[in-house]
């Protein structure tokens, strides 16, 4: 019975489920440093998921996604360090999380309205403008002394379970690992649910053919702005999750460098599926931390080469391609042969790429 239930699950969900079980069991066997590394990579994975949502699902190639990650990290830091003017006494981690979601979402809302309304920016132009925005915001934060300038803010407290910065500090490797995993799963689930809803379908339609969607009566600018904000909110949450572990935030978290990195993770993992993007982020990070000292300078060469190859030949990404292969294999084994009704068709068509 379980077998039939499993065989009817979407391959993507199945893979996500298996990965989750593995991650849940991992603390039984893994060393604490590996768990600590992974807890941080979970924030990167969530960050990657936010970009996969905005780029893969909604077709908005954002070259400045780190702006929102960074804003979230700064928001969390300012709150927990008691630096928010007027409410210095409020140092609650929970308020920090709320701010880390709200501030980037608001920023994206404003930026989205500016960029998308009326005859909005399309495809490549949107990409280049977000790139320029990343440079601008990084520059602004470097010159903003209140948030510590180039050096940023230090000694950001870890997650404190009490209501206002008192109580148990989440710092031990294993509890922190589960907390980070929980936040990742939470953010992931929100995005996955959105993508499966009708609203998510409409977003995919906007990405696939905007003019058509507009002519069906959709206010596409509004849809894009909202999607952009949701992506930003999740990126901000990831930033907050990052900073409570890293203990510091600086402009290098907000600019082009990290935006470019996350783009590689998502492209290598797979932009079309959340789970592929997350796995891409974790995989690249794990490999980098273990192999970069072995390969030295050739590591970046390898990564760059792999990136080009995957853009040219594997638009689904390495992990995405693997999941897709598994999907086809399962479909074959189920015999029947016909694709089940409503199954998302992952084939990327030219219309997804070309800027209209």
């Amino acid at each position: 019975m379980i077998r039939t239930a499993l065989s009817h699950m979407k391959t993507e969900s199945l893979v996500a489920g298996i990965l989750l079980v593995v991650l849940l069991l991992l603390p039984l066997g893994a060393s604490s440093w590996l768990l600590s590394d992974l807890s941080i990579y979970f924030s990167y994975a969530l960050f990657a998921a936010s970009l996969a949502f905005v780029w893969g699902h909604c077709g908005l190639l954002c070259l400045g996604q780190a702006v929102f990650f960074g804003l979230g990290a700064y928001a969390m830091s300012l709150v927990t360090l008691g630096m928010v003017p007027g409410v210095e006494g409020m140092v609650s981690t929970w308020l920090g999380f709320a701010a880390a979601i709200a501030v980037p979402a608001l920023a994206a809302q404003l930026l989205g309205r500016f960029l998308f309304h009326a005859q909005g920016l399309q495809g490549a132009f949107f990409g280049i403008v977000t790139l320029a925005v990343a440079f601008i915001v990084e520059r602004l934060f470097i010159n903003w002394d209140f948030v510590g300038g180039l050096n940023g803010l230090m000694n950001v407290p870890p997650i404190v379970l009490g209501l206002n910065g008192d109580g148990y500090e989440l710092w031990e490797a294993v509890p922190l690992y589960y907390a980070a995993l929980f936040v990742l799963v939470l953010g992931f689930s929100v995005l996955a649910a959105l993508m499966r809803s009708r609203w998510g379908l409409a977003l995919k339609a906007v990405a696939s053919h905007e003019m058509r969607t507009k002519s069906l009566g959709y206010d596409t600018a509004h849809y894009k702005t909202t999607a952009f904000s949701i992506g930003a909110a999740i990126a901000g949450l990831a930033g907050a999750l990052f900073v409570v572990q890293f203990g510091f935030v600086s402009p290098s978290l907000i600019g082009f460098g990290l935006s470019a990195e996350v783009l590689i993770w998502v492209a290598l993992g797979g932009r079309g599926m959340l789970v592929a993007a997350c796995a891409g982020a974790i995989l690249v990070r794990v490999l980098e931390s273990n192999l970069s000292s072995v390969f030295g300078d050739t590591w970046l060469l390898l990564l760059g080469g792999l990136f080009i190859v995957s853009v040219m030949f594997l638009p689904r990404g390495l992990v995405g391609e693997a999941i897709h292969g598994l999907d086809r294999w399962r479909a074959k084994r189920r015999k029947g042969g016909s694709t089940p009704r409503g199954k998302a068709v992952e084939r990327l068509s030219p219309s997804e790429y070309t800027a209209r």
Partner: protein
């Protein structure tokens, strides 16, 4: 206060350098609709070509000739191996060329090391202009830039291939129908754009310290220049480069380098948003 003459000289010097860099970028973008994020690294390859020749004991001038040839040839190979496969996916050209830029940067690190290198000044003399000494080499750069821009104009307006290329800008499908070999044109265009980047890199090499990251510092303003100028005409990058270059230089002169960058970036974003076709651009066909 600096004399007006030196301010004008400095500003036009920077604008002309930017124009030389933006020209190749604009040709590739305008004709092929390829956003080449590796353009900065093509620039760097040009500069390192000069460096290699200097290290082998050759004169700078040989490097100046070799750089566009070498980088042009390299562009031809890249077009065949990478760019050709992503033509119809505009967003993917951004990613592919960006991956390429990573690759090139890292290759240079492996070959020449991550550190800085220096090219010796080929003309160390100064010329007196309005009573102030001005390095002769900077004047030479301005001359080269003007020469190259003029040559490009003549090429596009006075030759048959240039006409064909303009046909492709206007309407790619139509041009293909009329029997223009767009495949060869693409090869030529990309290679030409790369060669221009190589030349620009060679020309600016003596002004700066050479390191594998030098591309980015030029790529971003050059990009803003062509987006601000627009894509519809060959004249557009001239306007864009002048706008971006002069604004940045004047802001640096009268305010500070920190604000100069900010002002240029913010203004450019506003212009791109409010006039998506660029200042000089015709409205692109929405298909």
């Amino acid at each position: 206060m600096s004399s007006v003459a030196t301010i004008v000289l400095d500003a036009s010097n920077y604008a002309l350098i930017l124009l030389l860099i933006a020209l190749g970028l604009a040709i590739i973008f305008g004709l092929m609709n390829v956003i080449n994020l590796a353009h900065g690294e093509f620039l760097m390859l040009g500069a390192y070509t000069v460096l290699s020749i200097q290290m082998a004991g050759g004169p700078f001038w040989l490097g100046l000739i070799a750089a566009p040839l070498a980088v042009g040839l390299f562009g031809l190979v890249i077009e065949e191996v990478v760019i050709r496969r992503v033509y119809h996916r505009v967003l993917d050209t951004i990613l592919a060329t960006w991956g390429l830029s990573l690759l090139l940067k890292q290759s240079i690190v492996l070959v020449f090391g991550p550190g800085s290198h220096s090219i010796e000044d080929p003309i160390s003399a100064s010329v007196m202009i309005f009573g102030a000494p001005y390095p002769a080499y900077r004047l030479f750069i301005m001359a080269i830039s003007l020469l190259v821009v003029t040559a490009t104009f003549l090429f596009f307006f006075k030759t048959r291939i240039g006409l064909a290329a303009r046909g492709v800008i206007a309407n790619r499908n139509m041009a293909a129908c009329l029997g223009i070999n767009t495949r060869n044109l693409d090869r030529m265009t990309f290679s030409l754009g790369a060669a221009l980047a190589g030349l620009a890199g060679a020309v600016i090499a003596p002004l700066i310290s050479l390191d594998p990251h030098l591309g980015l510092g030029y790529l971003v303003p050059a990009f803003l220049a062509i987006l601000v100028g627009g894509l519809g005409s060959i004249m557009a990058p001239v306007v864009g480069a002048a706008g971006v270059g002069v604004t940045e230089n004047l802001a640096a002169t009268f305010l500070s380098p920190v604000y100069a960058q900010l002002i240029v970036f913010i203004t450019a974003v506003l212009v791109i948003r409010l006039a998506p076709g660029g200042l000089l651009g015709k409205k692109r066909r929405q298909t």
